[in-house]
Assembly symmetry: C2
Homo-oligomer: 478 residues x 2
Amino acid sequence: MNQRFKTNSVLRISLFLLLASFCLSGQQLLAQETGKSKNTLTEQQLTVVADRIKSLGLAEEKAYEFLLRLTSVGGRLTGSPQAEEAVGQAVKLMKELGLDRVWTEPVTVNRWVRGEKEIGLVKSRKFGQHKINVAALGNSRATPGEGLEAGLVEVHSFPELEKLGEKVIKGQVVFFNQPMDRTLINPFAAYGQAAQFRVKGASAAAKYGAVAVMVRSATLRIDEHPHTGLMTYESGLPEIPAVSVATADAEKISRWLKEDPETRVFLKTSCQQLGPVVSHNVIGELTGAEYPEEIILAGGHLDSWDLSPGAHDDAAGCAVAVEALRLIKACGLKPARTIRAVLFMDEEFGGTGGRAYASSPRRAGEKHLLAIEQDQGGGVPLGLAVGKNPELLQKISPLARVLQQLGLHWVKNGGGGVDISPLVEQGSLAGTIVPDAQRYFDFHHSALDVPAAVHPRELQLQALALALTLYYFSQEGI
Amino acid sequence: MNQRFKTNSVLRISLFLLLASFCLSGQQLLAQETGKSKNTLTEQQLTVVADRIKSLGLAEEKAYEFLLRLTSVGGRLTGSPQAEEAVGQAVKLMKELGLDRVWTEPVTVNRWVRGEKEIGLVKSRKFGQHKINVAALGNSRATPGEGLEAGLVEVHSFPELEKLGEKVIKGQVVFFNQPMDRTLINPFAAYGQAAQFRVKGASAAAKYGAVAVMVRSATLRIDEHPHTGLMTYESGLPEIPAVSVATADAEKISRWLKEDPETRVFLKTSCQQLGPVVSHNVIGELTGAEYPEEIILAGGHLDSWDLSPGAHDDAAGCAVAVEALRLIKACGLKPARTIRAVLFMDEEFGGTGGRAYASSPRRAGEKHLLAIEQDQGGGVPLGLAVGKNPELLQKISPLARVLQQLGLHWVKNGGGGVDISPLVEQGSLAGTIVPDAQRYFDFHHSALDVPAAVHPRELQLQALALALTLYYFSQEGI
């Protein structure tokens, strides 16, 4: 595209006049509103607020700066020293920003460690021996110290596994090779389907006597990077080792098996459970001037997988939550209700942080009206998903219209996530500023989830939308 | 984000039942419709079509494959041998895909060549001498063979330039250092403001006796890559050399000038005008079964700047247009009106391709109802901008609803571009599948606009939306 002077002058002039008319009066009105409850924000006032958030928020890219600070710690696996260092960094950051209150709350988490880098080899009399890129799945038991070697059985579904049964499976490594369904527009839907093999595959295969499982990585790309993630064992069944394998290797192994069904695999992992340790959620807030006990929450999770610094998953969500609070404060906005950023520990390994927060005695006397979880990566924000009730959408239509100024073109029911689900069970509304996630699973849970994979401006746009949404609900309630 | 099985089962089952009910009957109905005019597509039929386009289109990423074929030629500067090679490649591709008709139409274009890589140096008695990254602006005259050296005057607006006047400017190099306004959500609006210095800066400065201009690159990033683009000379004023300078260098030079106003610059460029040559637009179509003379057009531009293979700008638009036609054909859809892909030559250097197409004697008897131009990069599609009339939006609301299945959440009035503007002047509606463009100016007109900067799936999603939109209008007319 060449020179375009597309700026719609009429629109711009109108906006200028609107701002000129409301900027001063808007500020005065907003000042009058501070600490008052029944008055609702007019759409014009909200427009002034959005413009202030936009000007301040886009001039710098602070969300990315915060993301860099958190990711500088490295991978932040639940229970690890790095995760605890991230707790300290997050507290330091929130204090530097001058939030009204900053504190931590304890969470007892499981500590699992990967141990030495995993070894994977495929062996075929026809093709020889090749190294494959594998990574133990989170929570997996290790292979025997000397590793294990067995034949491979490729399957694409649980019914297929069941049909093959013990006769075929016993003593073998089950190779779950079902790709993510790329024909689904929403990659999270495709992920949900594919991740079931990662989560439940080991016990499903152990039932028929498998000695280990190897699961195709949940990504739409074909590359050399294994994507890890949580797996669980069903009680009463042997706890067999489980690894993910890079998609490029999965494709190769599948080809080999077609031509040489005797192809075998060697796996060596040394992961361990080290038992429970105490970790922390990190919390900071702008205390509400009028209803401090009514909470509008924005959260991300501070822990990550260990294969990368977890930039998208979920330093992005943490950075956006903190930046939203900074922006609200920097814009001179004084929320009527408390706006709280919660950086949850242990989303990845069981969600204990979310449950600890919701069930803490400190919640006594607090009422969470809305909990927004940002955990779908640092992509450009597309819309706001909030609550379950269509009437809510009607009520917040002024917010929906003003979010368009920030590039978000829809507000729908929806939203949520692992960390806030205990709050939602207690009656809070759920919400999410929904980002574009077409690239998300390229990086997710793999060594590729690094800061360079996040675009500073896209991340910042999430923070703008979150700041406006939090402020709106802090003034309007639910 | 950890395991989420968010797939809404109820929705999925409903969709399955819908497809099961309509897939066969839908195909029959569509078959009956083929070649009929007055029947309009029902929303259910359109849903079936969208699902077919989605399944076929997302299983592979053909748009990206086509982009790789076009970019393999290298930079395709208007009038260059590479641009002509791209013409040949495009014809070959369209013929391979079995479009009903494929042909070229001549366009007389200007040929400008960059010559040797430009040299830029800043020289300060305080800071020494440093190399800076500069690139001649398209259409610029060269410096004298031995280069030129002069003092630097930094300006940020045309009024500032005017105020300084001849007394300050005469004999100097004017350094336009106005950054793009990052507080605008739409980067194209910010680009429009910044690009005026690139386009008109040389003549504005020459008026006061400047010997050359150096213009800050139009990008929001700070990096080492100059971004080129077209500049023009006002007649009657000296035609002084014009270069762009990388943003990192612009920042540095500005710092130097503050501490040492005597800082000088040396520039050496060897660009040349080689006069007019004949090039070509490339055109392929699926001929309408009932109204072959009524055209629904999708276009991108085949030429690019020479600093990169122009992946986003605009191999992306060409690839998406071609892939949309392939998908319509592959889905077995037979358009009532002609659907035509036009790969325009010379968008970047004056838009002669668009004018040649619109004014060609071959247009006699043809009526262009809608022309969609894709030239805003290969990002994920956000919405459809089309026409100027709000009533049109009402009429095409079924399309708007079904586009949501493909991830596009809005349809608004708008759309257009350099290449189709002559058609729009003749009465065609304009349209654009509008992509997210937050990253676009990171790459635009610089060495960074390479295939790796385009995400295959994001590009493919554009092709899906374009295919559905073209087919809809081919059946419904305007």
